[in-house]
């Protein structure tokens, strides 16, 4: 399990990543965007429920990448249907429903997820001096049940980091979640690296 100080260190890492992601996104959409990780929680898969992930029962736009290397992790970025639509609308000036989102807009959502996930995990790689490989990002529309099922299906990945993410643009503030699924071996490994970072400060 993670102590306060370890969680603080992780929050720091992810905020660095979020900052990098924000500057990439701002550059692409030619508009100032801020990204922050106000809170981070640590859970075991037994504790996972819609409430624990602060998921409502609607649908979500999800982007997933599988990371491997110094430790293995499944990373999933979740935006609720309304939030995903708002983001795409702001980026593209599009007026579609989630089902009508064409390949075109889905790609934009996929790229946005790719930027955030890569930035967070590469900040982690930098600050913990580790290296990570990653699969290509995969965009899907998923229900709350689909997400819980995907988590349960990753047998062996018993630990879950839940990062609450806030994307702020001139027009609005959008909240989402970044979920990181870890096996116990990966968690142990991660904790060791965090301890290395903390003791080095």
């Amino acid at each position: 399990m993670l102590s306060e100080i370890q969680l603080d260190a992780l929050a720091e890492i992810f905020n660095v990543g979020a900052g990098r992601a924000a500057s990439s996104i701002s550059e692409i959409i030619h508009d100032e965007v801020k990204l922050s990780v106000p809170s981070i929680e640590f859970k075991t898969s037994a504790e996972i429920s819609p409430e624990a992930l602060s998921l409502n029962h609607g649908r979500f736009g999800t982007v997933r990448q599988d990371f491997s290397g110094s430790f293995d992790a499944v990373a999933m970025l979740l935006f609720s249907e309304d939030n995903a639509l708002e983001i795409v609308r702001d980026m593209m000036g599009s007026q579609m429903s989630l089902d009508d989102l064409a390949e075109f807009e889905q790609e934009a959502m996929c790229e946005l997820g790719n930027i955030i996930l890569n930035a967070c995990l590469s900040a982690m790689a930098d600050m913990l001096s580790i290296s990570l490989d990653s699969s290509l990002p995969d965009y899907k529309i998923a229900s709350c049940d689909d997400i819980l099922h995907a988590i349960a299906h990753n047998a062996g990945q018993d630990y879950i980091l839940v990062l609450n993410i806030v994307l702020t643009s001139a027009k609005r503030q959008t909240e989402g979640q970044l979920i990181l699924l870890l096996s116990s071996a990966s968690l142990t490994n991660l904790i060791q690296h965090i301890d290395g970072l903390v003791s080095g400060i």
Binding site: E103, F104, E107, A108, C110, S122, D133, S134
Partner: protein, 310 residues
Amino acid sequence: MPSHILNGVFNAINMGLIVVDQEYKVLLWNDWVFKHTHIRQTDVVGHKLSGVFSEPLSTMFLNAIKNTLAYGMPTVLSNALHRSPLPLYDLSVCADQKTRIHQAITISPILSPQGEKYCIIQITDPTTSIKREKMLRSHSEILKREAVTDALTGLYNRRFFDEHYALTFHNAMRQQHCLTIFMVDIDFFKDFNDYYGHLCGDEILKAVAQTLKGKLLRAGDVIARFGGEEFALILPNLPVGQAESYAEKLKDAVFDLAIPHCNSPLFKVTISIGVCTGVPSAEYDILGKADAALYLAKQQGRNRCVALAL
């Protein structure tokens, strides 16, 4: 697989493939990229990618390669957000093309068994699917519009009205707002048709529809063709006491059209209106009340408005 076959594969593939090493030097440049640049592989291999095109590359594209090489994580550059990052052209028709083709780009890391880092840039041209999606989208918008429109008058149809009524009723009930329904019927319409013919009847329907529609003031106000020669208006949040005067305005507007109707006592086309207004709750039938009011207006001699409280 022998390397000459492998080269054949790279060149047969219908997407652009460029491989660069850690120093951004080009190792592979397939035929697809040649076709879209007219720059040969032999002229670029061993040269830095940033210098091989005739135009400078965007920082976003170069940063994506840098990050992929540095962190070993793949990067996607969607067509939606980048359009055309690389100077690639459709040179098959005209060798002097000025418009870049659309591109969707994926940059993936490759690690050699010796630990050397490379990255492969895959480029596809999504133009066909963009065109198809645009076409499907515009068709679907037209169909959506047609599905809720009355073909003759151009007003909303009964299908739209029923859905919209249910929605505004629910909203008014939840927010405890006032809802006003007007039922409008053209007087002696059957006699008009019998005398002037159905084509003239259609013209009357259009004229009355346009006149009533022209009296709508606020964005949330809706008028629909309810059926035959009947129209219905939904006005949420109309200030108390204004429903009847508004109905009078509608009635006068049609009267002022001064359309001759020799089978009507006034020798003009007129309308009767039933109004019901109030804060709805589930047990109230505001539409039924407005219809009953219309019936009274007809009974009391037509060319008039009757209001019933909810």
